[in-house]
């Protein structure tokens, strides 16, 4: 079986802690910036931070960084499809 290449790749404790710390910092930032009003950009800022956090969780906690190309491509596809669904809907709702 070829599948064992990643099986024993234990992520070091230090890495996990660093990722956690980064997530905490980002949480602080996203809560902190709400005291400023950027208008429309509020959503953009909040979602950018959220997506960064999501990236950290997926890449490190969910080990995607250590997976092969196949799984990475699959994850990418899934998110593209979701983006298409939401994005194309806006051709309707944004132009009504």
């Amino acid at each position: 079986m070829t599948g064992h290449n990643t099986a024993h790749h234990a992520v070091p404790v230090r890495t996990n802690l660093l990722v956690w710390a980064a997530l905490m910092v980002l949480t602080t930032i996203t809560v902190g910036v709400t005291s400023f009003d950027f208008g429309f950009l509020n959503v953009v800022v909040a979602l950018t931070v959220a997506t960064t956090k999501a990236g950290l969780v997926i890449l490190w906690f969910m080990h995607l960084r250590y997976e092969g190309r196949v799984i990475r491509l699959m994850v990418f596809t899934a998110f593209v499809i979701l983006a298409i669904a939401i994005g194309l809907t806006f051709f309707d709702v944004a132009y009504r």
Binding site: V70, T77, A78, I84, A85, T89, F91, D92, R96
Partner: protein, 541 residues
Amino acid sequence: MSADAHDHPSFFQPLPGTKGGLASWLFSTDHKRIGMLYLYCIVTMFLVGLALGFLIRLELVAPGRTIMGPQTYNALFTLHGVVMIFLVVIPSIPAAFGNIFLPIQIGAEDVSFPRLNILSWWLYIIGAALAVLSLVTGKGAPDTGWTFYVPFSAVTTTNVDVAVIAVFILGFSSILTGLNFITTLHRLRAPGMTWTRLPLFCWSLYATGWIQVLATPILGITVLLIFAERVLGVGLFDPSRGGDPILYQHLFWIYSHPAVYIMILPAMGVISEILPVFARKPIFGYKMIAFSSLAIAFAGSLVWAHHMFVSGMSDTAVMVFSFLTFVVAIPSAIKVFNWVSTLYKGSIRVEPPLWYALAFIFLFSIGGLTGLVLGSAGTNVHVHDTYFVVAHFHYVIFGGMGFGLFGAMHYWFPKIYGRMYDKRMANWSCLIAFVGFNLLYFPMFILGLQGMPRRYYDYLPKYAEGHFFSTMGSWVLATGLLLMFWNLWRGIRHGKPVGRNPWGAATLEWMAPSPPPHHNFDAEPVVTHGPYDFTGVKPDA
């Protein structure tokens, strides 16, 4: 049974050292047995759906009341749609023939997750049971049509609650099948079975699997929202509560347009298996066909709102989705050209599976071309929600997927049962069904162009002629199909025994005994040539 059966009991017989019995089927984890369970259930549900459709047509044979009242009529067409779409067409080829043959075609012993596989069948049964329950409990059978459009589905007093839960569960069953096939194709291919040696049937199931996994959850949440709207009063589709009914249609079609490719892709896969075998020639453009399956699966996610041109969505969206719809027709057309080119200059051997495949190509082409009429926003306004749409989707689904399924039945029959049906009878039933089909559905195109709306219980006298012919067609079609099933049934019991490879096909399942033994192969096969390389392959005498 064939001579092989002596040393290796076939999958129909109990495993050596076990007693067998009903439980050894209902809780089996053998992909072949699960496939058979699906096959018998799907055929049964098909016959139920056929009977319902027959009754609908009977009511419409003449204007005015014929055999039932309007409320019964509404319930019947809803049930007909739900049964046919969710219990027959969506599982159909993948769950039955995919389960039986995908592992064998790639030289594997089973799918990746055999226990999830049987769970998926059980979910199918539970979903079917709930669908039946929705008829007999609550305040009357659902009358919304299979599309469950709001606002009607949110306010009707009929038993929509149970029906949508049934749909949710059936969706989950479909997801598990797709998930299993994708993983199996990635992980369990035999040595030498590279991606470019994969039979095209497997490619089509791979593409289908992705649609099942990525699109079905949207249907899941959509029907849950109907449930939430009815039971919890959440009202996200209710304008009086700030909601928007058009969003329901978006969500519904974000699933249901890709779902039409769940229906048709596996049938295309079957056709791509049958044609080269009976043309004795490698399929024309293997890579194009394989690739176009993936292209269809992807492009199918871009076009859903062509079902909504007159819903009140924005004009920009109408334009964009109309354009994208034309784009998605391209890969389908590529396949048709490849099939026809495969036949060109082949040494064609005319056998029943080939007749069904040819019927498929003819009917699917009509369905696909009329799809373009519907896909261009201008003409759509004229024919939306008329019998033109009904004719279109019956040509693609029944003419396409349905005849693909019948083709698969006739192609793989000898492999599954180790016997051959009466070929002459099979040819006749194909012809009768084909004629009946066109008599039934072609008049609907004309009715639709004349303005006959769909889902109506009654109609103006000027439509009487078309409806009359159509109902006649339903009788001819039903005759052909019953003859076909009867002939297959007789073949199971009395057919002439056959060997491993009666058609002279080159894919792996034909190297296994007929019927295949429990573990498919005597030893794990090593693949050295492509699936349509017929050098040295001859049909058994």
